[in-house]
């Protein structure tokens, strides 16, 4: 019974954390990430919408994630660690963005 209660509490906490987690939307257009700089919390989800006419990517410089963004498509990543993270488009390396993740 106690185990069941513990599992139930953990599951509820996980659900509440999920509900509190935000989606942060970044538009990709004209070879630019917009906004280029965002702030987020652990558990938030970065979502890129590609409104450009060519394929792009959101590739973390520390190789933590590499999301290909098809034309008229989107990609997402859940932020799991705190810190500053730079990313870029691997097909257009002068296209850059960053995210600051706090707890």
């Amino acid at each position: 019974m106690k185990l069941f209660a513990a599992v139930w509490v953990m599951a509820s906490l996980a659900m509440v954390t999920q509900v509190l987690a935000r989606d942060i939307v970044i538009t990709v257009k004209d070879v630019t990430f917009s906004p280029a700089t965002v702030s987020a919390h652990v558990g938030d989800r970065l979502m890129w919408n590609n409104r450009d006419i060519v394929v792009h990517s959101a590739t973390a410089r520390n190789k933590a994630w590499d999301v290909v963004l098809p034309v008229n498509g989107s990609g997402k990543v859940v932020l799991k660690k705190t810190g500053h993270m730079d990313y870029y488009c691997k097909y257009h390396p002068t296209m850059t963005g960053s995210v600051d993740v706090s707890p």
């Binding site: 070879v31 630019t32 450009d52 006419i53 060519v54 394929v55 691997k90 257009h92 390396p93 296209m95």
Partner: protein
């Protein structure tokens, strides 16, 4: 060599544009033809590079050129179909083809690091010339607003290519 190449192409484009400006403005069908031709020529150069290069960064750049110019030209074809515009061959397109065909023939005789350097140097010069032409002639001269918007989007992508080529050019020196 890249400066001679770039200067020659630039002179041809400028003289054609100047001629066009005094005699007659470039028409939308001619502008569409120039934009499509410029992209198609870069795809051809990139395919040559993919056959010849052993450098991973040059290969990645050439793959980007094929991918992006193919996507932009596909959009260009869809747009001219929608607008019922038939691209029209013209002196500017023809001079671009002549120059770039000659440059590709020259590059085809090179190999290894020499090929990589000359290919990338030409990409810098070529993109700079095409971007200048887009910005100063093709976009201002285009009548149809959708064509103008499309060329403006294309210019942003091609400016990114120019910057990428410049970075690669510096790496290969």
């Amino acid at each position: 060599m890249k400066y001679i190449m770039g200067f020659t192409v630039a002179s041809l484009i400028c003289s054609t544009a100047a001629f066009a400006a005094t005699e007659a403005k470039l028409t939308d069908p001619q502008i569409a033809h120039i934009a499509y031709t410029a992209g198609d020529l870069d795809i051809k150069a990139a395919k040559l590079a993919l056959k010849k290069t052993h450098n991973a960064d040059v290969k990645a750049f050439a793959e980007d050129m094929v991918k992006d110019h193919t996507a932009v030209n596909k959009q260009a074809l869809a747009l001219v179909k929608k607008l019922n515009v038939t691209p029209e061959d013209n002196a500017t397109s023809q001079s671009l083809v002549t120059q770039e065909d000659a440059e590709r023939a020259r590059l085809a005789k090179l190999k290894g690091a020499a090929f990589d350097k000359e290919y990338v140097a030409n990409e810098v010069a070529y993109h700079h010339t095409v971007n200048t032409t887009l910005e100063q002639t093709l976009i201002p001269s285009s009548s149809n607003p959708e064509l103008k918007d499309f060329l403006t989007t294309g210019l942003k992508i091609f400016k990114g290519h120019e910057e990428h080529a410049q970075q690669l050019d510096a790496e290969l020196k």
